[in-house]
């Protein structure tokens, strides 16, 4: 029988713990495929976050470090500085990266650390049960804003790509969405470009992936993907924000 | 032999480097020494002081309650430390900036017109070296040759200033 699809060898055999309809699995697969295509096997260290992807160290088939909440870019900086010829990537969610870890991500970016950061933006704290995230949309409901995010009380959502693109250190900043095959293919291309920037030591590379969280959004998978395509993409437009 | 020295003055008067010259001379002579500077906001334009302990044996406490020798480069320093000098000890007073006389009678006092002598040496920045010369003579812990070797070594990168510093040292030493 002909092999038509094969799991990337950059993923372990450990089954994902993610909820049905969650797009973390797709993001993992894309990162693993890109690493494999770039010949990074045996040549890469990944950094896992705190949040839903906390167990990422079980899934990526490479040396991994588990960072404290928000500190993945600092940990990745430490690794890359002593292993400058290895690929180093951090994989973070929106609470980890855009809230508690804001200082670390901004400074790793402005230093132009030659690392790649994959940023999963699903506009919610998933692991802790659906609290408001820094990227939660205006009006979007969460367990800590049950009537919907009210900017008067809760402030406004943060646009990370736009923010980081103002800095000199990054060489590649892009936002994709994991909503449909076409967007998934585009997202993979973005991830590949990001790692190529790292390979060429061009600068800090960053890919934000708009993702769905049907569990905490209280939606079906289809509704959740539709919400990403409509509401989320309106606030967080897709595209390349910086490329040098 | 153990000699405890407190040196105090304004920031910029070369108080710390005066202490360091004594510390370097100690190493040069194979003696043990601790040099403890004051640090922090008081360094910035305020008063500056350091404690130097020179000994034949390893120095225990770098903290000095009663110095054998006080070098007061300005008025507030004399006011602050005069009472702490050990009875029988000595005070070297920079009389260029301190018009008061030492009131204590149980210590030896040496008035050094350091700023005027520095001018005479040809470099106003050498007032601390004038005092270093006076200290070397008064304490008798180091030979003038050792001190001059240290001066030469410390200014090795700026050889042009060495003659004025030698002159300043001698003016202080020969008072």
């Amino acid at each position: 029988m002909a092999v038509v699809y094969k799991k990337s060898k950059m993923l372990t055999d450990t089954p994902f713990h993610y909820c049905p309809g969650c797009t973390h699995g797709i993001a993992h697969k894309l990162v693993a495929e890109v690493l494999e295509e770039m010949g990074a096997e045996g040549n890469v260290v990944g950094v896992a976050p705190v949040g839903c992807a906390v167990f990422a160290y079980k899934y990526f088939n490479c040396d991994m470090q588990e960072a404290a909440h928000g500190r993945a870019p600092a940990v990745a900086t430490g690794i890359k500085r002593v292993l400058p010829d290895k690929f180093v990537f951090a994989y973070q969610g929106d609470g980890d990266l855009a809230s508690i870890g804001m200082a670390e991500i901004v400074h790793a970016a402005t230093r132009g650390e030659k690392i790649t950061v994959i940023f999963i933006n699903n506009a919610i704290y998933g692991m802790t049960g659906g609290q408001m995230a820094p990227t939660t949309l205006e009006g979007q409901k969460a367990t800590t804003c049950i009537y919907g995010r009210n900017p008067e009380v809760n402030g406004h959502p943060i646009k990370m790509c736009e923010l980081l693109a103002t800095l000199t250190g990054p060489s590649y900043i892009a936002r994709g969405a994991l909503t449909d095959p076409a967007n998934v293919r585009k997202a993979k291309k973005m991830i590949k470009t990001a790692f190529e920037h790292q390979a060429q030591k061009k600068g800090f590379s960053f890919v934000e992936l708009l993702s769905s969280c049907p569990t905490n959004w209280g939606m079906t998978t289809e509704q959740a993907l539709e919400y990403v395509k409509t509401d989320m993409q309106k606030l967080y437009p897709l595209g390349v924000f910086k490329e040098v | 032999m153990e000699s405890k020295i407190i040196i105090a003055g304004f920031g910029g008067q070369g108080v710390q480097s005066l202490g360091m010259f004594i510390a370097f001379a100690s190493i040069h002579d194979g003696k043990e020494v601790t040099f403890l500077p004051s640090y922090g906001p008081e360094m910035r334009g305020g008063t500056s002081n350091c404690s130097v302990v020179v000994s034949d044996k390893p120095v225990a406490s770098p903290i000095i309650a009663s110095p054998d020798i006080l070098i007061a480069m300005n008025k507030p320093s004399l006011a602050k430390f005069e009472s702490r000098v050990k009875p029988g000890g000595c005070i070297i007073v920079n009389s260029s900036l301190i018009e008061n006389k030492v009131t204590r009678t149980d210590v030896k006092v040496y008035y050094v017109d350091a700023n005027r002598l520095a001018l005479e040496a040809g470099n106003t920045k050498t007032a601390n070296i004038v005092v270093l010369g006076a200290y070397t003579k008064i304490s008798g812990v180091f030979s003038p040759e050792v001190m001059k070797a240290v001066i030469e070594h410390k200014f090795a990168k700026k050889p042009k200033v060495i003659p004025a510093n030698f002159k300043a040292f001698e003016l202080g030493y020969n008072l």
Binding site: V45, Y57, D63, G78, L83 | S26, S61, I64, S66
Partner: protein
């Protein structure tokens, strides 16, 4: 000939000679000479230096670099060390060897910038969350700083623990003659079979992690850490005894204060008083046996514990001596430092 070096700079140079190749720092008085020195020195020996955006980031950079097998360190002073506690807890659980220098200043809060010993509890009892310890040294001179720093990475590697050098503002600023050791040959160090060098895949991949979500797994890990600390206590405990053999009063102090106490002992001995000094060099593990032995001497009537704090090490002194003899306390704090004469006066008043 010996060189005259400032404590902070001597520690930095000794670290480089002992194999430090990665330093991550953040400015805070009174330890700034360490990052300043490392910022140019490490690049001369093929190492790396980052001025981090915060103490929090700096300790996590240490985590990353140590996890990747490098000899990595950071330094700070009290408020900055508090910020590093989260990272230190993770480092201890993940068993990452590294070195942390704390040039203590007075607290709590922003406190002052003058010398203190008020971080003893934080350094020796854990500091962050969870059940852990570091190997903590309290050097008393610039030369001792150099000697301890030079071997600190070897100790850290041996036990897979962070080593903390607990100094104070005086020790960082003081200049003394020192002899610097030769560079260690890093090419002779073995590969760390647990580190993430980036070449691991499949069965051979390594994971640096402090998340142990199964209670049995976490309990076993805590026991492993406890065993490590017990082994450290057997092998690494260091203490200096000075004139204790016939002493009636034994002063106890660590770090710079122990030198002030030693001068006090000398003054009291000149006056015919039988006084000695017991100085812990390792603060964790605490030299319990040496203290117990001295406490059991018949001649010893009492202890005087002196610190630049309101009384922290005294708790360990009481535990170690089993309260066989009374333990008096003399402390200064806020950046004030006692003189030998202050101690002499206290001992003459308390000593019966």
């Amino acid at each position: 000939m010996k060189e005259l070096m400032k404590g902070n700079e001597a520690i930095a140079e000794a670290a480089v000679r002992g194999g430090c190749r990665a330093f991550f720092g953040y400015p805070i008085t009174p330890q700034n000479e360490i990052p300043e020195y490392m910022s140019w020195r490490l690049f001369e020996v093929g190492g790396t230096y980052v001025q981090a955006e915060s103490e929090v980031a700096a300790i996590n950079m240490v985590y990353g670099a140590a996890g990747a097998g490098a000899r990595a360190m950071t330094s700070s002073s009290s408020p900055g060390i508090s910020l590093k506690q989260e990272g230190i807890s993770y480092i201890c659980c993940s068993r990452l060897p590294c070195v942390i220098v704390n040039m203590v200043r007075g607290g709590p809060g922003l406190g002052g910038i003058q010398p203190a010993q008020s971080d003893y509890f934080q350094a020796t009892k854990g500091g962050g969350h969870g059940d852990y310890h570091m190997l903590v040294y309290g050097p008393a001179s610039v030369q001792e700083c150099v000697n301890i720093m030079y071997d600190a990475f070897d100790k850290a590697d041996k036990y897979r623990v962070p080593v903390m050098i607990l100094g104070d503002g005086m020790l960082g600023q003081i200049m003394e003659p020192v002899e610097l050791p030769e560079f260690k040959d890093l090419s002779k160090l073995p590969r760390k079979n647990w580190a993430t060098y980036g070449d691991g895949t499949g069965e051979k991949r390594n994971i640096i992690n402090s998340l142990l979500i199964e209670p049995d797994e976490l309990e076993a890990h805590n026991k492993l850490l406890a065993d490590t600390y017990a082994e450290m206590a057997r092998n690494e405990t260091m203490c200096e005894e000075y004139l204790c053999d016939d002493a009636e009063i034994v002063l106890t102090a660590y770090g710079t204060v122990a030198r002030i106490a030693k001068s006090a002992v000398n003054i009291l001995r000149e006056q015919g008083k039988k006084v000695g000094l017991l100085r812990p060099i390792t603060l964790y593990p605490f030299p319990n046996d040496a203290f117990r032995k001295v406490a059991e001497q018949d001649c010893v009537k009492e202890f005087v514990c002196t610190e630049l704090s309101m009384g922290q090490m005294i708790e360990d002194v009481k535990l170690a001596t089993g309260m066989l003899k009374p333990v008096h306390f003399y402390g200064r704090c806020g950046g004030n430092v006692m003189t030998p004469e202050d101690l002499v006066e206290f001992v003459l008043k308390e000593g019966k």
